[in-house]
Amino acid sequence: MLMDDYDPLKGRMLSILDKDGKVVEKGLEPKIDDALLVQAYKTMVLTRLADEKAVRLQRQGRLGAYPPTKGQEASQIGPALALEKGDWMVWAFREMGALLLRGVPLWRLYLYWMGNEEGSVLEGDVNVTPSAVPVGSQVPHASGIAYAIKYRKEPKVALCYFGDGATSEGDFHEGLNLAGTMKLPAVFVCQNNQWAISVPRNMQTASPTLAQKACAYGFKGILVDGNDLLALYAAAKEAIGRARRGEGPTLIESFTYRMGDHTTSDDATRYRSEEEIAYWTARDPLARLRAYLGHKGLWDETNQKAWTEEAGRMVEEEVKKAEGHAPPTLDDVFVHTYATMPASLKEQLELHRSDLPARKEG
């Protein structure tokens, strides 16, 4: 089992593809359906483009503060790729890649970052929670969702993303401890992107790895190369399988890097070096998977060019759709406070309606 071979206390990191996309751990290369592999890569490219677009939109004042996801595409998409329909995904705020893979429409995500609650409305049974901005606060939700899965004896799991910074919060601790104690079908993915805004990983905790924090909760942890889609997929596949079989939760530390600023309000040059960025640029998760697909004959220049163009067009269309979305009405911001609007709130709404200046564009 990977989880045993890569006990984080031994300080090993699971890595299958090297930085040039060559398989270094032959025996561990996961069997992924070719189509799925290509879909993963295409989603990574789409995410990269959509993310860069979001940053540009913000600079143009067309979108609010936005947390770039660049560099973390494999870290997000690898684990999500191992999920099945019906499984739950719980996230924080920087998981665009995972969301796109799970089928959340890009325009909804843009709409959310443009500042419209409609962006958090998900159609169908996608089983994705809305964003959770208070760091770490979503972790106990994942445990509760997993509890309900277990309670109804469903063959499902809850996959939960959070950052390295989140591991310092009490909610991380309480959520994992609950999952461990009750052997819940949950997989916790810590995207260790080395920074929590300006605070580096080593000032977040003295624990040599984040993965080993699992040993405080009686389940397994594993440290995984977070820019290696194959390694993440393999680890998540095993963790998800174990969870589904009732063998309890796993903590996956995905060792990755936030290539961009914390958000568009941040200036990362204030606290980190050019060298560091260069180091990680050479380990771009997209380049690695692309090389691997190339070696396997699944992807070439032509595909790359065609998909880049198509994805670019898709991004523009989704932006248009988001920008074309109606702004909220006064009623919109009132009526969902409760399932049924209480009399006193109705009164306030009517008073407010008469008291507001003429409608400005939002």
Binding site: S120, V121, T129, S137, P140, S143, Y151, A158, T337, Y338
Partner: protein
Amino acid sequence: MAAMNMVGAINLALREEMERDPAVVCLGEDVGVDGGVFRVTEGLFERFGKERVVDTPLAESSIVGAAIGMAMNGLRPVAEIQFMGFIYPAYQQLVSHAARMRNRTRGRIGLPMVVRTPYGAGVKALEHHSESTEAVFCHIPGLKVVAPATPLEAKGLLASSIRDPDPVIFLEPTRSYRMLKEEVPEGEYLVPLGQARKVREGKDLTIVGWGAMVPVMEKAAAQLAEEGVSAEVLDMRTLAPMDFASIVSSVKRTGRCVVVHEAPKTCGLGAEISARVMEGALLSLQSPVERVTAPDITVPLPKGEHYYYITPERVTRAAKRAMSF
């Protein structure tokens, strides 16, 4: 129909709602094997098993946080916080998630969940075991707050709370747990949320309160009656969203109002009620709304507790101040 105290009535409501709907699950510290430190969940573990009456680790934020996840995924959790003084670690989960999930998702994800907790002073308890900080929840849009005054009320309000599609903080007055028995019916008995209850009719003045203050107000009203003052007594029952209309319409008739609560005065619910009465009935008001509350101090340990809590006499004196303004 059997006579029971409030502990029994809450227990009955939990049992019946759990029987009615397999999605109802109780969780919290010591709620299972031990039946709760006040025995409120007694017998449920034996009846429904450990999957439905869940002894959790000692961690309030995750009790509420997990309840949120459960409610997102089809359950109707009823979480117990052992004392209101220990709900604060869960404040972020309540304010930032429980209260906001429905609006955050424009109505798509509602959270049918209840957080039960004993509250209130006057039982000579340890530090932090006498809290009455309902106002810090009533201020948060999206939360409902309920506080029953009698066994029968407790049963009907808890059943409604469990069936409510929104998160409800259900405050159980510790002082009233075993104070009084009354007939409580088995089977369907619902008290709607959001409606005050007129406990006593009166014409000279309106006394407003809830929970363990209701018997105190009733005693005060009886004393006042002996002195020829006819007091109307309103039990608000639902503290948020509150039925202000009933208060205003009563004060419009009586012209005077006394609000009673166990929480400190400043920024307590009494302020809100006072403001609403003025806004809705200023021209009928014959004296300022009197607030009978705890002072703005920390609840004293037992030896000083008598300085803190509300007595019928304090209510009566306030009523007389109002009458003679």
